[in-house]
Amino acid sequence: MSSMDSTFIYIAKNLNYDYPGGISALRQICFKIGAGELVALVGANGSGKSTLLKLLDGLLFPTAGELQAFGMKLSESVLETGNRAAEFRRRVGFVFQDPDVQLFSPTVWDEVTFGPLQLGISKDEVISRANEALALLNIGSLRERPPYLLSGGEKKKVSLACVLSLRPQVLLLDEPTTGLDPWSQGNLIDFLLQWADKDKVLVFSTQDLDVVEEIATRVIVMGAGHDIVADGKPEEFLSDSDFLLRNNLVHEHSHRHKELVHRHPHLHEHRHEH
């Protein structure tokens, strides 16, 4: 472990991941992510964003290349060992795209206490963390509700709360704003910006370039070849319409402007003055 580079939270070296049957999901992925970074993973459907997030959470392991987290190589054998696995799970929280996958406990309270309890945290501390997570997202009233009686937006909030109760240093979010109404999206963005600080890391996948601009300090663009086609600051890419079109991040379609209907790219643009 000591020979590893611990300056960065994550280091990916030529990562490859193939699904059973040889279907390629990730190709030659290289990056380093340090503390304080807010990273957006963008790319067309099927480009490998969700798979990459699962690798970063130690749920899948590379079929070639190497992934380091907190200065240790992430592998199945490392995450099988009690203490190191618990330490990693305590520091990294992953919110799945589909909240129904994540909400498997009988009630919201059971869900929010699940993570800390599995990691052997004391009962009083678990209760305190769970209450704090519910209060942070303003969902204390849902405490006794079973997940099947929650709305889509409530499920997303509970999914986030049950990861926040771990008090993670790294938050991995798979399409966090998908299916949320504009008001809930706004709340989530506000919350994430409050949560972020110089020691924490946020990595989220999204198709929504507005959300990228609101939150991210860095963008990793995944291409159709399941590789990284660009990595840098959001402003470097968001105004380059050719790049966005080429990588399926915006689309060209018919637009109506009063009487005039014509085709042009659906470009992301900022509509207010500073």
């Binding site: 498997f104 059971d110 599995q118 209760i127 079973p146 771990l166």
Partner: protein, 272 residues
């Protein structure tokens, strides 16, 4: 069988199943007597009554227990008509399968002779009556537990009763995901109905149902793999640890004492 009828019946069935669960959930939230008891105390005491019902041979005792169950229904603010409807759904089936044959096959003093062949004996009628009363009592007590205990609390009680954690966890997750799969299946039926004009033959409906079942199974398998990953992600290491936040209050002790006294008195009245 027409396509519309087949689909409409299935959709109505799914909706009814969901509504029924919601009604039960709502009953558990009412502030009534049984709802206020600790689920462990409730499960154990009602189990004691059910075991006693299985041993009882006396009509007055069995009737007394049924009256006690009805009083508890009232104290728990459960609508009596709703309770009786649920209770007596099962009784005709039980009567037909078990009680009616007992009337004829139990040897004893002839009471009624039907068509000069079938003999109803006095002992047979008593046995059938006892069987029916035992079922009525056991079901009443079981329904009381179901209608007044949220599923989550019931699982805690099962854990406390030392049921293996694997079984309790699987039960809990089955209950959780059965709703999701019910919704998915219901959506499949609605999607088909929205594209259906006129009817389909029985064979076509069966083929479609087979495909729908297979699709649901594949979806549930994918879901189970993802759920497992979600559990691993939050530290699952083979056994689910839970908070035990239950505590006994004075009314739990009073109810336990009442149960013991009532069962002892009934034992005494039978075996004195």
């Amino acid at each position: 069988m027409t396509g519309g009828g087949f689909l409409a019946r299935n959709i109505a069935g799914f909706t009814q199943a969901l509504e029924s669960v919601l009604v039960t959930e709502n009953l558990c939230r009412i502030s009534g007597f049984m709802q206020s008891l600790d689920p462990r105390v409730k499960a154990v005491t009602l189990l004691i009554f059910i075991i006693f019902v299985g041993l009882a041979q006396d009509f007055p005792v069995l009737i007394a227990i049924f009256i006690l169950a009805l009083v508890l229904v009232l104290l728990s603010k459960i609508p009596v008509a709703f309770f009786l409807k649920r209770l007596f759904i099962f009784i005709p089936v039980f009567t037909a399968v078990i009680a009616i044959p007992a009337i004829f096959i139990t040897p004893g003093t002839p009471l009624v002779i039907i068509a000069g062949q079938a003999v109803i004996t006095a002992q047979g009628a008593r046995t059938a009556g006892l069987l029916i009363m035992r079922v009525v009592d056991s079901l009443s007590l079981g329904l009381l537990l179901i209608f007044t205990t949220p599923w989550t609390k019931f699982l805690v009680a099962l854990r406390w009763l030392r049921l293996p954690s694997l079984i309790v966890d699987v039960l809990g997750m089955t209950y959780r995901y059965i709703f999701l799969l019910l919704h998915t299946t219901n959506s499949m039926f609605l999607a088909r109905q929205s594209r259906t004009i006129g009817g389909f033959s029985g064979a076509e409906n069966r083929r479609w149902l087979g495909r729908a079942l297979a699709t649901t199974m594949v979806k549930s398998q994918y879901l189970s793999e993802e759920v497992y990953l979600a559990m691993l992600s939050r530290g699952y290491q083979g056994e689910i640890r839970t908070l035990n936040e239950l505590s006994l209050r004075s009314r739990d002790f009073i109810w336990m004492a009442f149960t013991l006294v009532a069962v002892s008195l009934m034992f005494w009245s039978i075996y004195r």
